[in-house]
């Protein structure tokens, strides 16, 4: 319990720091912060509306601290004001449309990358010295070191544009109405194949490497020798004795992996014109819709923090020692 509370406290502080960053950013820019924030709004919002939005962002009279409190309040009440790009739609409504798609891609992509990484990492560590174990890590590292932009562009070009195996854009057939029926789900799955491939390609190496390094360390421990001496089968040692202990460091590195996945996600969505957060982020930047840009940053941070918390809970479940403290 103490472990969970301390983690929650940490994430709360991290979230506050992210809010403060968002609050300070327009104020650190040269010139009037309101001008910086609403540079793209000229002509789209009339002055009285700008004043209303300004108040919401805490650009009111008062000390910096009072402005800050007002901003924090508007974040926690999810009162983020209208988007400039898609005026008069609320920023939160725009996020509501786009975030589920990103959540779907990142969730499925990261989970399958972790799964595959654990399997391959275990095999590579356990069968050290075979040609597969010496060839696989460098190859997968090479593939994953390619920037997500590049992987996405190459996959897009060969499998989408040249071979025409998969669609080039959108998350589903645009002529269909979103519904929970079989044809629509099939269309979504069909459109998700290429983006998911890129996410898995980009993330796989990290999990394989972490798992392999952890496994190699565990394999040197006495418990393995003991298990071998008992005459247990090789697969039983590999799965029940070695992997279970080796999974712990993998769970800790989820933080980094999620950050990378989200970052790669932005490019993947742009290349495949997928209607998620990343695509919206680029549109917002080009339209200088800074309120939307900041809101997207916040939701990404929240998403990564929650992902980390889930990883912490998994850690707790895997490592009984933590439960006592």
């Amino acid at each position: 319990m103490r472990y969970i509370t301390s983690r929650l406290l940490f994430y709360f502080v991290a979230f506050l720091i992210a809010i403060s960053f968002n609050f300070l950013l327009p104020r650190m820019m040269p010139g009037d912060p309101v001008d910086a924030l609403f540079a793209g709004a000229a002509g789209r919002l009339d002055p009285s509306q700008i004043d209303a939005v300004r108040a919401m962002y805490g650009f009111s009279e008062g000390t910096l601290f009072e402005q800050y409190l007002q901003y924090v309040k508007s974040v926690f009440t999810l009162d983020l004001g209208p988007s400039i790009l898609m005026y008069p739609t609320e920023v939160t409504t725009v996020l509501g449309f786009t975030f589920p798609w990103t959540l779907f891609l990142v969730g499925v992509g990261v989970l399958s990358a972790i799964g595959l990484g654990l399997v391959f990492g275990t095999i590579v560590a356990y069968r050290r010295g075979t040609w597969f174990a010496s060839l696989f890590p460098p190859v997968v590292a090479f593939v994953s070191s390619m920037p997500a932009v590049v992987t996405a562009l190459l996959v897009f070009y060969f499998f989408g544009l040249k071979l025409e195996w998969f669609p080039l854009s959108y998350s589903a057939d645009p002529s269909m109405d979103p519904a929970w029926n079989w044809p629509y789900i099939k269309s979504v799955a069909y459109h998700a194949v290429l983006p998911l491939t890129v996410i898995i390609m980009a993330g796989l190496a990290q999990w394989v490497m972490t798992m392999r390094n952890a496994m190699v360390n565990v394999l040197g421990e006495d418990i393995i020798t003991m298990a071998e001496a008992k005459g247990l089968s090789s697969s039983r040692i590999m799965l029940r004795y070695a992997s279970r202990n080796a999974v712990l460091p993998v769970v800790t590195s989820v933080a980094m992996g999620l950050g990378f996945a989200v970052a790669g996600q932005i490019f993947i969505e742009i290349v495949f014109n997928y209607p998620g957060l990343g695509n919206t982020l680029l549109k917002a930047i080009n339209a200088r819709d800074y309120p939307l840009v900041q809101a997207i940053l916040l939701i990404i941070v929240v998403f990564v923090l929650i992902g980390n918390f889930i990883a912490d809970l998994t850690y707790l479940w895997l490592d009984p020692r933590l439960r006592k403290g």
């Binding site: 940490f10 994430y11 502080v13 991290a14 992210a18 960053f21 950013l25 327009p26 820019m29 910086a36 050290r128 010295g129 075979t130 174990a133 010496s134 890590p137 460098p138 590292a141 090479f142 994953s144 070191s145 390619m146 920037p147 997500a148 932009v149 590049v150 992987t151 562009l153 190459l154 897009f156 070009y157 544009l161 190496a205 392999r212 390094n213 190699v216 360390n217 933080a255 980094m256 999620l258 950050g259 989200v262 970052a263 932005i266 490019f267 742009i270 982020l281 680029l282 930047i285 080009n286 800074y290 840009v293 900041q294 997207i296 940053l297 990404i300 941070v301 990564v304 923090l305 980390n308």
Partner: protein, 323 residues
């Protein structure tokens, strides 16, 4: 009168420095020659860096000037074809590589210096300093870095390569710092550090002369890692149009290719050439990093020995069967 070297006395700082350099050079070259990933990765890096440095000798074209008709397919005159603006892609790759690789190098250096300073301080002094530094490290680690960079760059507006290098360098120290911190904590328990403390050496000397040399492999690993990461992220930022579009870099090449819809209009070389270049250089850095990993964790290298043992074992078994 020249002082007579006394073998009993400790070598002068200069002597030990020279010895360390020579020893380090020998070990570094040995590391590259005996390690296939390092050899391939290092080889690619050297070739690319040389090609970029010798750009004026390899191509006559100015990367910023229209030299042919738009989207000329690769031919003898324009090895990688031309862009939508009629610029030579090969010249752009070479000159752009200078900027892109410099950005990666500067970011790597800034991040490594920061991570060594912060990691060593946290690991050696411990206590409250460590708690605070560790907290800052964890907070920075938990934030998704690229979205943060994108928002920063969006507010700053069309950041040039030097600003990109600094932004990435300043935000990517925590990974290195965390590893260096834990390694420092392990080293500071060793006898030679205790001995130096008992002799009353200054803290600075202990940190720089006694502890730092033991962190070389880890620092090198984090340096290459950040370089790879900076290359990728700088290209990503520029691809989004957040960089300075007038600077020629691998990232802005991607940006121009994307805005010219090069893939759709059949000018694939404008997009694929810089993309593959970034992929190959990033991959080369990853290979070097794998090799450095094996140095800092020798257990990973056991594979080669196991393979030799299996071969021998097979030969022995075969001989026995014959009898």
């Amino acid at each position: 009168m020249t002082p007579i070297a006394n073998p009993v006395l400790a070598p002068s700082p200069w002597q030990s420095f020279r010895f360390r350099c020579a020893n380090g050079l020998k070990r570094t070259s040995g590391f590259f020659l005996t390690n296939p990933p390092a050899l391939i990765g290092g080889g690619i890096m050297i070739i690319v860096v040389l090609a970029c440095l010798l750009a004026p000798m390899l191509t006559d074209y100015d990367p910023n000037r229209r030299v042919a008709r738009p989207h000329v397919a690769p031919n003898a005159e324009h090895v990688f074809g031309t862009t939508r603006q009629g610029r030579d892609v090969f010249a752009q790759v070479l000159y752009g590589g200078r900027t892109s690789l410099t950005v990666a190098f500067v970011a790597g250096t800034v991040a490594t210096v920061l991570s060594i300073m912060i990691g060593i301080t946290a690991g050696y002094f411990g206590g409250r300093i460590d708690q605070w530094l560790n907290f800052v490290m964890n907070v920075v680690l938990v934030f998704p870095q690229l979205p943060l960079l994108i928002v920063l760059a969006a507010f700053l507006g069309q950041v040039g390569p030097p600003v990109i290098a600094l932004l990435i360098g300043i935000t990517s120290w925590p990974w290195g710092a965390r590893v260096i911190r834990s390694q420092t904590m392990a080293i500071r328990q060793k006898e030679f550090v205790l001995a130096a403390e008992c002799m009353g050496e200054s803290k600075l000397r202990i940190l720089l002369i006694e502890i730092l040399p033991n962190l070389t492999a880890i620092a090198a690993g984090s340096f290459v890692g950040v370089m790879m990461y900076a290359l990728i992220n700088a290209a990503g930022l520029e691809f989004l149009g957040l960089g300075d579009p007038t600077a020629v870099t691998w990232g802005t090449m991607l940006y121009w290719a994307q805005s010219a819809a090069a893939l759709y209009t059949g000018g694939w070389w404008e997009m694929i050439v810089p993309a593959v270049t970034i992929a190959v250089v990033g991959g080369a850095m990853a290979l070097v990093n794998i090799a450095i990993d094996q140095v800092s964790n020798p257990k990973l290298k056991a594979g080669a020995h196991l393979r030799r043992w299996r071969k021998l074992n097979k030969a022995i078994q075969a001989k026995r069967q014959k009898r």
